[in-house]
Symmetry: C2
Subunit: 273 residues, 2 copies
């Protein structure tokens, strides 16, 4: 597969970084990730917006303008010859002489086959658990996934597919997905604070008002457990129903009616984009 | 300078990792760091203990036993031909096919010249600021320094040399150092919860009882500001007096008597080890 590092297209097996890079030394880097549908980037502008936003908030400079990044991305997609690809743009703190302070960033862009959740998986839904944890700089899409990776062994033990974080005020997000609930009154609710602003989340929020009322606000763990429907949203999972939380069954352990309507609306939007 | 990756001694400029490594993808890695005095590793056994401990807690396997690691370290020190070196042992989540789950770790050990704080710097002391933040898995020496690197611009703005974290219960630690205070009654106090157990901290705690009473317990930010002496401890800074916190002067803005006694005791212990 093709990749791009700083100024060069390389084979991805030669995509290497020196160990002095701040991602390796101090876990300091940002990224963004989107996919192609029939070879066409999906919601790329939103992902580029967020990539530049994350870079700015982390004091990192992208030495390519938007047009240059788009050219690189399109070239990678073309070279890869895959129609359903995942594009990962990454920007690190750079090769730091003292292993601590930010220097000239390294830019890495990869293009690989990506596994998208199927309609069969949507029908099954997933079991999740909850865990008290708040990401450090939640609005930034950084590589700060230490807790997420560390929790994998707990997920295996609990036979759960994912973990939903909560803090003292609200449930917040999954490591790689946003959360939505449908209340017993048929209102779609999603947290709005201390989360990463997901691009799929944004699309759902723009599609939902024709289907149901929408609220962005805190959700207590108790309200979550008493929701009539729960689902998560992400680039690779689109909409994924949550049918079990811990040992509590949600709804009738199958995708709810509203979740189904939103899923259909999203699939349509995906084709039209 | 020489380096070691997995099974090979290499020149450090060839110490590269593929971008699929979990340190680069997800900030998932541990490390430890110690130095040599006259070519002899200082407190190496303590650092090896902690390295194995961090690995176990992070579900990472070190495929070398202690004797093998010591052999590699001694070889690096010899090859480097430097007498005052910093040894960094690092263990990552490995080259992860899905960019998320732990696989066979990559082990990287480097040996480089290291800058140790001088007695002149001790005499001057430093200005610090405080910041509310709690590291995610504090007992593990991981590469989770996103907040620390991110705060560098604030430190420059405030003309401060370092930042002391606190949580709702206590001051805790600096990004790379432990904190001690001397109360007005002449008691040495250091936090014991939600911190990394520093090796220099441990040495100070073993040397202090012949000099003064010692307590390990929570310290409120208010108690910190009213301490008669404050200092930090780390491998490269040994003991460094804190003379200003924000805009509050500590003591008479110079190393205190107890700090000075502990510093002398530590310098002696360093030579004897």
């Amino acid at each position: 597969m093709p990749a791009f590092i700083n100024n060069d297209f390389v084979d991805s097996k030669n995509a290497l970084l020196h160990i002095s890079d701040l991602s390796i030394q101090r876990g300091y880097a940002i990224f963004d990730f989107f996919r192609t549908v029939n070879g066409k980037p999906l919601f790329m502008e939103d992902h580029l917006d967020r990539f530049y936003h994350s870079a700015e908030k982390m004091f990192l400079q992208i030495d390519k303008n938007r047009e240059e990044l788009i050219f690189i991305i399109r070239t990678l997609i073309e070279k890869s010859e895959i129609t359903e690809a995942g594009i990962r743009m990454m920007l690190t703190g750079g090769y730091s002489p003292d292993g601590y302070n930010i220097t000239q960033s390294n830019l890495v862009i990869t293009c690989n086959p990506v596994r998208i959740s199927s309609e069969e998986e949507f029908e099954k839904g997933i079991k999740i658990i909850t865990y008290k944890y708040q990401r450090t700089l939640p609005h930034i899409k950084s590589i700060d996934y230490q807790m997420a990776v560390w929790l994998q062994s707990l997920l295996k033990e609990k036979k759960a597919a994912d973990v939903l974080y909560y803090n003292q005020d609200s449930i917040t997000e999954f490591p790689r997905s946003n959360v939505f609930i449908v209340t017993k009154k048929g209102i779609l609710v999603t947290p709005e604070e201390n989360i990463l602003m997901g691009v799929t989340r944004k699309k759902i929020l723009s599609l939902a008002p024709t289907i149901m009322p929408v609220e962005e606000r805190n959700i207590t763990p108790d309200e979550l457990l008493n929701a009539s429907e729960v689902f998560l949203t992400s680039t690779t999972k689109k909409i994924m129903p949550v049918t079990v939380i811990g040992d509590k069954v949600i709804g009738n352990q199958a995708p709810g009616d509203y979740t189904r309507k939103l899923y259909r609306a999203f699939l349509d939007a995906e084709q039209l984009s």
